[in-house]
Symmetry: C2
Subunit: 459 residues, 2 copies
């Protein structure tokens, strides 16, 4: 242990700490190993010490000690990111926020939670509060593990985005509380548009301790798996469903015919050669959904009523996991357990030309790329993004495939990078950068995630 | 009284009937007098007898008697339509459905109501049911008076359409029960897409007795009035708010600077020369709304929290009526009480060119047309429709104005006609026509509302 770290440790008496190999390894990792590019780069990165605070006071003491002793500080929630957001590149302290998991306050339409509260736990508390039928607007497929603070710092969209957009949209996050990493840490309250200063910033500019977030009124979400004669028909259906204001929905995902066999319990449901959709709609509109699917040549191959779906999600009841555990990044997770060579990409489809690009990709990359589409609403329209499975060959081929997809009109956001500049911090006038100078004046937070810090002076 | 009517009357012993002049006049009218064209055409139209059934059995007896004696039958709900939908053109029986007003069944996300149930009463029951926090997805500005059956038969959109689309969208109406006008009436159940057979059909093809409708989960709806430097900035704000998935909303309306002074209690709130917006948003996103308004140069000039807004709507508390009573067709109602020469139009704005058309209309028809825009979501996008106030001069000038607006790119749906063919029954393959041959074989229902019935045989 380095000298500064020993000194820091002495300042943290009474706070949960761990430096055993197993804990340090576990807490130094996220799901970066989805990427064959990131895996060798991040596999051996370790913090030196894991801090496990249980209160905001303890977080403040840790921040103060890191600043005083100039020790690197990397914050993590559930560790469910895919880009190495939570992997400490320069050792130091790994700050696990999981112990700060209280729901601080609930009002109609909004909840204030500590950063380490997990999605499923928050929803469970909201459900079990007498008289409250609210739920989080979105959650990643890792609803059980992911924390609200981690999602705000390193996530974007998820189940629910087909109705509610993304976490960075106006009204989604109401307020955030941030502790600065200074010798005398300050607790800052960011509200309204100011929350953008720390959104999707990978925890490089302050420790998020509380999040106040807008809730959705709960609806009874029925689950359906549907089969379609082709990916094009399934895509048209997904678009039509997402566009249908009259059908309340929480999830719309569409999959290439090659994917169901990679998804364990879903494999036997979908006839070979058929494309698949997974949807969650309000029970009262399930019949309208089935009519819409039939219009596109589709049929329901699995139906679970809302009450049973909720039992599966909250209590693990039934043989079938909640269907959202086959969507978003869980699709990739299941598939690479079956075929270890599989990785993924992130593609934004051009509005109005989604099916055209689907067709082009299907033809050009048959057998190599299996499309998985997630349907969202954003900016007042339907928005299709892809998380396609890719049978990985080499870094060169990956670059080639990305170039091909971009040549065909898709916008690729490369998930095979841990650098924040590549993933949403592209604008040099972004508010996050300015806030870093204020909240992390010594540049200790999650070092290595920004390509150049401090930024060179202009001119 | 005609001979068939006397015979019919004899068949209806025990059913509430009225033929006094005042009741007959009251029940033979709707809000057609908004239109200076319709006013002289419909002003003296009267039924001969008003039937006031209290149960479905009574409705069936009335239908049977009308068929047996070949007496014209016109169905009405609250009589809040603007096109003379409920005005009997050929005398006969006026069937007032207001006595069938029970809520038959409520489940999570759907309610089944008798046709004569009024919007506010349904919402009140949903609210006061223990544990239920659901509400109707949309209501017209005449929430107090309008009935669910009347809305299905003669309405389309309303407050709530900025989130939920329109009544004809898939999933909005789950099922409808219809009694046929035959000597032995049948009770038909229409579900799913089949409900389109009787939607917006002005009651010419069967008596709607029950409606099962999807509900929205309630949210605490805060009310705001906002002032903007120009109609263009207010329009851009309205579009941006309607496009914002993260801000839950129930109403978005925008008004020319000349309108507030016509709206009684709103007049003192808005500075002279400023355009106005009326919005209802979820309380938790009210701050995000204010930020968005400021982006467009707007400011909040009136704010009422959700609880007080609900008290105003349900219990008439406070000096300010619910703000939705200044939107949709209520805008026209208030304005023509101040300026009797005022009437209105209905304009669909071309997507993506809304502000352009607003500017053109403002320039070309300054002082004659005062724009009032209602923002909706439909078909996966923002959809702007106008219910502009028009200072009426003559039928010729009205046609000229319609032609001008269409020449500038607006699609005008002429509200100055009581003919169904002009208002949504334009397609000869519409399912309503076929259903009429089945549900009203003698052609007795609401006669005169179809330009030609029975239709000429093809070829």
């Amino acid at each position: 242990m380095t000298r500064p770290l020993s000194a820091l440790r002495a300042d943290l008496a009474g706070i949960g700490l761990a430096d055993d190999k197993a804990t340090v390894k576990l807490k130094s990792r996220d799901f970066f190993w989805f990427s064959p590019i990131l895996k060798p780069l991040l596999d051996d990165k370790r913090a030196e010490l894991v801090a496990l605070p249980r209160s905001k006071d303890e977080v403040i003491r840790i921040a103060a000690a890191a600043a005083r002793h100039r020790v690197a500080l990397t914050v993590r929630g559930g560790g469910t990111g895919n880009y190495g957001q939570a992997v400490p590149l320069a050792g130091g302290v790994l700050l696990d926020m999981g112990g700060l998991d209280r729901t601080v306050a609930v009002r109609a339409g909004a909840a204030r939670c500590e950063a380490g509260a997990r999605f499923l736990d928050i929803d469970r508390r909201l459900r079990d509060d007498v008289g409250s039928r609210w739920e989080l607007r979105f959650h990643p497929s890792t609803r059980k593990q992911a924390t609200i603070g981690g999602f705000v710092a390193g996530g974007a969209a998820g189940c629910g985005s087909c109705t509610w957009g993304q976490i960075s949209d106006p009204g989604a996050v109401i307020a955030v509380e941030v502790v600065t990493v200074e010798e005398r840490p300050r607790t800052l309250a960011l509200a309204g548009r100011d929350v953008l200063k720390v959104l999707h910033a990978y925890g490089v500019n302050g420790i998020i301790t509380e999040v106040e977030i807008s809730l959705a009124p709960w609806q009874p979400w029925a689950e359906r798996v549907l089969a379609f004669p082709s990916l094009a028909t399934a895509t048209r259906f997904g678009w039509a469903l997402t566009a249908a204001e009259g059908i309340a929905k929480k999830e719309v995902a569409v999959f290439d015919a090659g994917i169901p066999r990679l998804l364990k319990r879903l494999a036997p449901l979908v006839p070979t050669g058929q494309a698949m959709a997974i949807v969650m709609v309000a029970e009262a509109q399930a019949a309208a959904l089935a009519e819409m699917a039939a219009d596109h040549g589709g049929s329901v191959v699995y139906a679970r009523p809302a009450a049973a779906a909720e039992d599966a999600a909250f209590d693990g009841k039934g043989a079938m996991p909640p269907l959202y555990e086959y969507t978003w990044n869980h699709t990739t997770l299941h598939a690479l357990k079956v075929e270890p060579s599989i990785t993924y990409l992130q593609i934004r489809f051009p509005p109005g030309r989604e099916v055209e690009l689907v067709d082009k990709i299907e033809r050009a990359l048959a057998g190599e790329m299996l499309l998985h589409l997630e349907f969202q609403r954003r900016f007042g329209r339907v928005f299709v993004s892809g998380l396609p499975l890719l049978r990985y060959r080499s870094p060169e081929r990956l670059d080639q495939v990305i170039a091909m997809v971009e040549g065909m009109g898709g916008a690729v956001s490369n998930p095979h990078s841990y650098v924040l500049d590549d993933a949403g911090w592209k604008r040099t006038d972004a508010p996050q950068a300015e806030f870093k100078t204020l909240a992390d004046p010594f540049g200790l937070m999650n070092p290595g995630k920004l390509r150049a810090w401090p930024p060179k002076p202009a001119g």
